[in-house]
Symmetry: C2
Subunit: 366 residues, 2 copies
């Protein structure tokens, strides 16, 4: 997920740039060809492009072939029938009918924002969904409407809490987005609850480098610096990494996200969460359908006037900026500004993946 530490590092071996506009139109066309409606294709393309624009390359068009492979396997339904349950005024549950999480997330957050506009705060839980892209793009739907928004999701099990070698949790990201103050840029915390995301291990493996101690453990639960350890039965470690470093906190946060988005929504959870990759089969005896997400919103106007909020946030922001600290979300906004102007860099491999994907759908690459 988006993190302050892996930003502003463009892909190595840049072969060229895509214009964001051209790329987004092409991605939308891909979603149309696999059966999405016009509005769903537009939503899904926008969520993927948001990641590419912000420099979260692992969650952008790089994931597109993966979504299409899951659709080919019949594990993503591009023509979902939303099934809503509402037992109380400010809480709703969405069974997403196997939809793209990219779309289900937007639809669910829209509902959370609408209920929060009426009651002040609201929550929407989603089951029977798939990978929802970057959490921030959903949480921000609230932030741009004067609300604090949150978004979290469980994910295929890759994390083994210290003391176990069994993968019990996903990287289970959580995101909170706050409406902007006078600089116009929302404060956005969007983090995996593991010490490092899978993508960082892939980068290290590609570069032939060891990973730091604290990111992963091997198949006996011992710490390792082997970047390919996930392919050898190992696992990621929760944030905190060691007993002394507070790994029980990272494990607790990952468990919280699993309980909230998976258990409470009626979705699958823990070790049974379906894998994102098409070559692994979902568990047959899982406790519920698909992935689960949790969304919510809290209206600033339920607390104070927006000008007072903005004034307070400006003061907060200034204190942290003056101490030389990076504010969460800001590197991504800066990257977005650059990439809107200069385009989205791609590698030869990245372009080839989209050429192959396009060919399989009778589509010219962007």
């Amino acid at each position: 997920m988006g993190s302050t530490s892996n930003l502003n590092k463009p892909p190595r071996d840049i072969a060229g740039h895509w214009s964001a506009e051209v790329l987004e139109a092409w991605v939308k066309e891909v979603f149309l060809r696999i059966g999405c409606s016009e509005s769903h294709a537009a939503m899904a393309a926008a969520v993927l492009l948001a990641a590419d624009l912000k420099g979260i390359d692992s969650h952008g068009v790089a994931r597109l072939p993966g979504y299409v492979r899951l659709w080919r396997k019949g594990r993503i339904n591009t023509d979902p029938q939303w099934r809503w349950t509402q037992r109380m005024p400010a809480v709703a549950v969405l069974d997403a009918d196997g939809a793209l999480g990219l779309v289900a997330g937007q639809v669910a957050m829209e509902k959370a924002v609408a209920m929060a506009a009426q009651y002040g705060t609201a929550q929407v839980l989603v089951r029977n969904s798939n990978h929802f892209g970057i959490a921030a793009e959903h949480a921000l739907m609230a932030a741009v409407r004067g609300m604090v928004g949150w978004a979290m999701t469980n994910a295929s099990p890759l994390v083994a809490p210290l003391g176990s070698s069994k993968r019990l949790l996903g990287t289970n990201p959580l995101c909170y987005a706050f409406p902007p103050a006078n600089n116009g840029l929302p404060w956005v915390l969007d983090m995996a609850t593991s010490a490092a995301a899978n993508g960082k291990l892939e980068l290290a493996a590609a570069a032939g480098q060891a990973i730091p101690q604290g990111w992963a453990s091997d198949n006996r639960g011992q710490g390792t610096t082997n970047p390919k350890v996930l392919q050898e039965g190992g696992a990621l470690l929760p944030l905190g990494s060691t007993a002394e470093g507070g790994v029980h906190k990272g494990y607790g946060l990952g468990a919280l996200v699993d309980l909230w988005s998976g258990l409470l929504s009626g979705a699958s959870f823990g070790p049974w969460v379906p894998p994102f990759v098409d070559f692994l089969e979902p568990a047959k005896d899982g406790p519920g359908p698909g992935l689960g997400h949790a969304f919510g919103a809290l209206a600033i106007e339920a607390l104070m006037g927006l000008p007072e909020y903005q004034q307070r946030l400006d003061r907060w922001t200034q204190a942290f900026a003056e101490a030389g600290l990076v504010l969460h979300g800001m590197p991504e906004w800066e990257q977005r500004r650059i990439r809107l102007r200069e385009g989205i860099p791609y590698t030869a491999d990245g372009r080839r993946a989209l050429i192959d994907l396009g060919a399989s759908l009778d589509l010219q690459a962007p």
Copy 2:
């Protein structure tokens, strides 16, 4: 705050045990003598004793002299007039009029639970408050009524995010409590957002031991193993500890708690949060009154029937327990069971502190 790693370590040099019942009655008497009403004294004593019973000794009666010192300084108001503001149905803000946070937290959570019973979810933010004890004791008010509860608070600045030597955040704990399944014990995550709590440094200093790298930085922002570094202008580090370890995540979580409980409530925040100790003066130009807390609840019945929830949680619990993992909250419940039977252990110093406190209020020590 409560953590899985510092439990089941009784105080060293145990001089004896207090019966929980006797101690609670005595603590209540102390609160009565400093001007609390009968009901406020009972609430405050119960919250403190909950910490002692669970083995979170840093947050129990050990804190009582500190509360009394702040009251003597006129910085805690034991006869508060609650000032509620409600702009929307499921959100309320409480100005606690300088109350004991122990009491304000209980009152605020009661309101959150009442609103969530009507709307499914609700939030209460509190400003103009003080240290609220263990977060879990507030969040659990929801969990025992079939709701997920959360509680967080900002706190006096002791944490310097990596890249700064300035203390900008408190240990800013967050807590989430889930209603119990069939074992009757709620799942409770209650964690400081720093790598280690202040109390762990004090224990190391008392034992003449170095602290691990990753817990604290010195007054130039460099990592240190000096357990007395806080007295020498140093600071605690956020969870994650290092750039590689994901310290931006711990910093982000601490900032989230500060924004949610301090900024959104109208309280003070960041470097201006008033100190818990009486010998440091609060900032004159703070952005709001006192500490801030954030509470909320989400009713399980808004999502599914309680039996279905319990069945799902039992399955989740079993998967983690079978992998040999400690479940959050369980060591504290076990400690509570033991201490209810055997009493709460105290050291000679601990007893002397209560003797002195009692003497200052014309009260025999317990």
